[in-house]
């Protein structure tokens, strides 16, 4: 396949080279939580199990632990009414956001709707009532079964629209005693969260109006490395190993909940087997319960979800209705968005999925040139699995609706939808058309063969081919990362010019460590440093004092890299001073190139830097950098996905023949890593579009497929041809001016495929996943 062409060729970043830790992972030597914390290594280890609510809504009236306590191997049992448990303040699963602020001053405070160990469970799978520490998982599990629990089974509701009815059971009376709609106002903003121009007047004056609805579902992250932790106490210090992806936030959360000084908590995170936004962020009740069990027993306690238990949070189920008005010439004059988000049992980040991304990020950016725009939305509690962040927050859901509105409107106006998009969407800092958007759409159109696209349903025969696309603004440029506060790194140069790089980030697979290492090497070109000379510390350890860059965002692909030129300049200056002392001169009279120091006025007088360092007993040379990202408003580039599908009208099976995934990312930091995201994102994209779906028994509220046999993740056999296209059209601030791309790669897939299905069959189907039975029933309904 074609290599992407870099706008400014660099020595290491943007090139095709192996992943930094490729050999470590390919040889099975990379150690993950389960490899490090094992009974085989530490006979003292205990194992925790936590009671899961078997009902969608139920309260524990009493628990009798007598029989469970008698079971040999059971060390301690915590229950919901234990004074140490009830002393914890309420929390939520999105407690800290990106920042490391106090509980009281968070950027995005969320609803405090979680208790560490409640007496009431609000979904099947909720941690509730009791936690056990025992010599093995089996014993702990048996102990849970020996608990005598008296349940009060409460009425439940699964559907958000039913949950909004006045007679619906109230799920979180402490948040809203009146009903299940999350209170608006305050930090959550008004219900009509954007209203500019005069939408009603614009609709009245529009030549064409469309109204569409798209429903996104609770796809699961389905990460291989199930979540867990191991906690032990060293005196009054809490030591926590975990595979959550946020060391600092987990540390802040534990310190805050246990009311410990921050330096009395140490969080260590090794290689992590995937994340995609799960459990965002460092706040999980199981951390607290495990820490409490460890303190009670005086022994290390490990907790790890089973595969079933790891169905623990999902993409937020969100239904958007969009009304769009346009003039005959294709100028979109008005858009009205109405969203209902099903947060499931806990609020998590669903308010952000509903309002933050679609509103602040897109309403004021992508939709900046739509003169009349109103957005309204409500978040509703139900008794299903909670929604959280998954490869973005709300982007895929709103894209599913915008891409539909555009497709329908273009057909009404008899316009190519690409032209409709280019005519109307961009961002607030630039006039239309947006060059990045144009490049993405025309680039993708060429690769998929858009010019040969036929009209809707115009193919004959049983198997019908069709093409569709969707577009979105990209994700995370530097100005959007200012709110993170400082990015930090440390460069430690050894006397042999090998290097240790402290660029703390939990490596969940996204390749950001490779980006940092390549940027570091090319910044230190004056020392002839190569990527293989750099040891990047893969375990995040909060005891180093460096802030880790949370993988909540693909921005980690450039955050550390942007600091490297400054780090390199400082290191050079320090080396010049050291060498000047040794050479009996001053730093301004010498320079370093190719790892050799020389006199500027007499370049023949030269010496290897290495020799000077070895002789001086001053190495390692340390440099630290701590900076906020540049805040210059540069806008954000675009992304697009094009799909070519075949629909078998006899079986209802949808086959994706080809996907073209286009990302303008400013600067490509790690080419195979970026292409890997573009391709790999489709595992989720295709899955949630065609096969993945959590299925509930409506009568009992019990989820039926919390396993990987019945929850169908794409395999190699399900993968179509995927062509990744990387572009560098837009540029952000800073040396590299890159943006993230991991989230964006799944954003447009479902809509691109849905539009392609329409193009193939002439029938709209707008509730993913497009399983054969749904496709067949839509086709037969349309035929009647």
């Amino acid at each position: 396949m074609e290599k992407f062409k870099s706008r400014k060729p660099r020595k290491y970043t943007g090139t095709y080279r192996p992943k930094k830790e490729g050999l470590e992972k390919a040889s099975g030597r990379a150690l993950y939580l389960d490899d490090i914390i094992r009974k085989g290594k530490d006979q003292n280890l205990l194992f925790a199990k936590m009671l899961r609510c078997p009902y969608p809504h139920a309260r524990i009236k009493s628990i009798d632990t007598t029989d469970a306590e008698k079971l040999p191997g059971v060390k301690t049992i915590l229950t919901y009414d234990d004074p140490e448990v009830t002393a914890f303040k309420p929390s939520n699963a999105s407690w800290t956001g990106l920042d490391t602020r106090h509980y009281e001053s968070m950027d995005w405070p969320m609803y405090m709707d979680r208790l560490v160990l409640p007496d009431t469970g609000v979904w099947v799978g909720d941690i509730v009532g009791a936690a056990v520490a025992a010599e093995s998982y089996d014993i702990a599990e048996k102990a849970l079964k020996l608990l005598k629990i008296e349940w009060e089974v409460l009425p439940f509701v699964l559907d958000p629209e039913k949950a909004m009815q006045p007679d619906a059971p109230v799920i979180h009376p402490e948040i809203n005693p009146e009903g299940n709609v999350h209170p608006g106002g305050g930090w959550a903003g008004p219900d009509v969260f954007m209203d500019r121009g005069d939408v009603d007047k614009a609709f009245a004056e529009a030549d064409e109006i469309t109204e569409v609805t798209s429903k996104h579902h609770n796809a699961d992250h389905a990460v291989l490395d199930t979540r867990g932790c191991c906690v032990h106490w060293e005196g009054d210090r809490l030591i926590c190993w975990t595979n959550l992806y946020q060391g600092d936030q987990a540390r802040m959360f534990l310190a805050n909940m246990f009311e410990l000084p921050v330096n009395k908590v140490r969080v260590c995170i090794p290689w992590v087997g995937g994340s995609f936004g799960r459990g965002n962020t460092g706040d999980q009740p199981f951390l607290i319960l495990t820490a409490l069990l460890a303190r009670r027993t005086g022994r290390p306690v490990k907790y790890k979800h089973t595969r079933r238990e790891d169905f623990h949070d999902t993409r937020n189920a969100l239904t958007w209705t969009i009304k769009m008005g346009a003039k005959k010439d294709g100028a979109i004059t008005a858009m009205y968005f109405y969203g209902i988000a099903n947060s499931g049992a806990y609020a998590d980040s669903t308010m952000a999925a509903l309002k933050h991304i679609p509103g602040i990020e897109m309403g004021e950016c992508q939709q900046a040139h739509i003169p009349n725009l109103r957005m309204e939305g409500y978040v509703v509690y139900t008794n299903i699995i909670p929604g959280s962040c998954m490869r973005g927050i709300g982007n895929a859901q709103v894209n599913l609706a915008i891409g539909l509105a555009v497709d329908v409107m273009a057909e009404k106006l008899k316009m190519d939808p690409l032209e409709l998009v280019i005519k109307n969407f961009g961002h607030e800092w630039e006039p239309l058309p947006n060059e990045s958007l144009k490049a993405c759409l025309y680039g993708g159109a060429k690769k998929i063969g858009w010019k040969d696209r036929h009209g809707p349903g115009e193919t004959k025969g049983v198997k019908k081919r069709g093409m569709g696309f969707s577009f979105n603004m990209g994700w995370h440029s530097s100005w959007q990362e200012v709110a993170r506060g400082h990015v930090q790194l440390g460069i430690k140069l050894n006397p042999d010019l090998s290097l240790i790089l402290e660029a703390p980030m939990v490596e969940t697979g996204v390749g950001s460590n490779s980006c940092a290492v390549f940027a570091c090497a090319e910044s230190l070109d004056f020392l002839n440093i190569k990527p293989e000379d750099i040891h990047w510390i893969s375990t995040v350890d909060t005891d180093t004092g460096y802030k880790d860059m949370v993988q909540t965002d693909s921005a980690v692909s450039f955050l550390h890299a942007e600091l490297m030129p400054k780090g390199a300049a400082r290191l050079k200056q320090d080396l010049l001073v050291i060498c000047a002392g040794y050479l009996d001169t001053t730093a301004d009279k010498i320079d370093i190139e190719n790892a050799v120091v020389f006199f500027k006025d007499d370049p023949e007088k030269r010496q290897k830097v290495k020799d000077i360092l070895w002789d001086n007993d001053i190495a390692p040379v340390l440099v630290t950098v701590s900076e906020i990202m540049p805040g210059e408003k540069t806008g954000i580039p675009y992304i697009a996905t094009f799909a070519d599908v075949e629909v078998d009208t006899e079986t209802g099976k949808v086959d994706i023949i080809k996907l073209v995934v286009v990302n303008d990312c400013g600067t490509v930091m790690f080419a195979p890593g970026a292409e890997g995201q573009q391709i790999g994102g489709q595992c989720m994209g295709i899955g949630e579009t065609l096969t993945e779906e959590i299925i509930y028994d409506d009568a009992t509220g019990v989820p039926l497929n919390f396993n990987w046999i019945d929850y169908k993740i794409p395999t190699m056999a399900d993968f179509p041809t995927i062509e990744p296209v990387l572009l560098e059209v837009w540029k952000g601030a800073g040396e590299y001016g890159a943006c993230g791309l991991g989230e964006s790669t799944t954003t447009c897939t479902a809509r691109a495929v849905a539009n392609a299905i329409y193009n193939a069959t002439g029938v709209r189907m707008d509730e993913i996943p497009f399983k054969p039975e749904k496709v067949l029933s839509a086709l037969s309904e349309a035929a009647q």
Binding site: Y16, P18, G22, A26, S27, G511, I679, T715
Partner: protein, 163 residues
């Protein structure tokens, strides 16, 4: 039976029932917990994902779905038994061919894929695309590296042929 013996990565190892393991323990448990062979990953524990794949008597098997007692007398190869210059390991590590991405991202499924690929190439030294798909579709990669994995397997086949 109160003891099992198996030849693991070329050396015989012996385990006592009840002392070292229970009759209900999986082969994955004994290899990982008792022998410290941590390369294999237990990600689903129900035979759905392939992360625990090892080679038993020349064939790729799911070590979470085999009881330890079923491995008595068998020859087991885990990823620790492969050399770091093994063509499959090397091909997975080095994959950066334009247009396919890297052959692993988070790496949790990788040891399983490497062992499944190893068994595939032992059986079919020069597999077709269809044969690779057939043999590796029991392994899940949520990071979605399948196209790069396929390239790595083809590369490993070429490396082996040239050795």
């Amino acid at each position: 039976m109160d003891k099992i013996r198996m030849k693991v990565n070329g050396e015989w190892a012996e385990f006592d029932l009840t002392i070292d393991f229970q009759s209900s323990d999986s082969l994955a448990y004994v290899l990982k917990e008792k022998m410290g062979l941590t390369g294999l990953k237990v990600a689903c524990d129900e035979g759905a994902c392939g992360a625990c794949t090892i080679i038993k008597d020349g064939r790729a098997v799911l070590s979470c779905m085999l009881l330890a007692v079923e491995a008595d007398g068998c020859e087991i190869q885990t990823i620790e038994g492969l050399a770091t210059d093994d063509p499959v390991v090397k091909a997975f590590a080095d994959q950066c061919e334009p247009g396919y991405g890297t052959a692993m991202q988070c790496g949790y499924c990788t040891p399983g894929f490497v062992m499944a690929s190893k068994a595939l190439l032992n059986e079919i030294p020069n597999p077709t695309d269809e044969q690779i798909t057939e043999k590796l579709s029991g392994n899940l990669c949520r990071c979605g590296t399948y196209p790069a994995v396929r390239r790595a397997v083809l590369k490993a086949a070429a490396l082996k042929t040239n050795q």
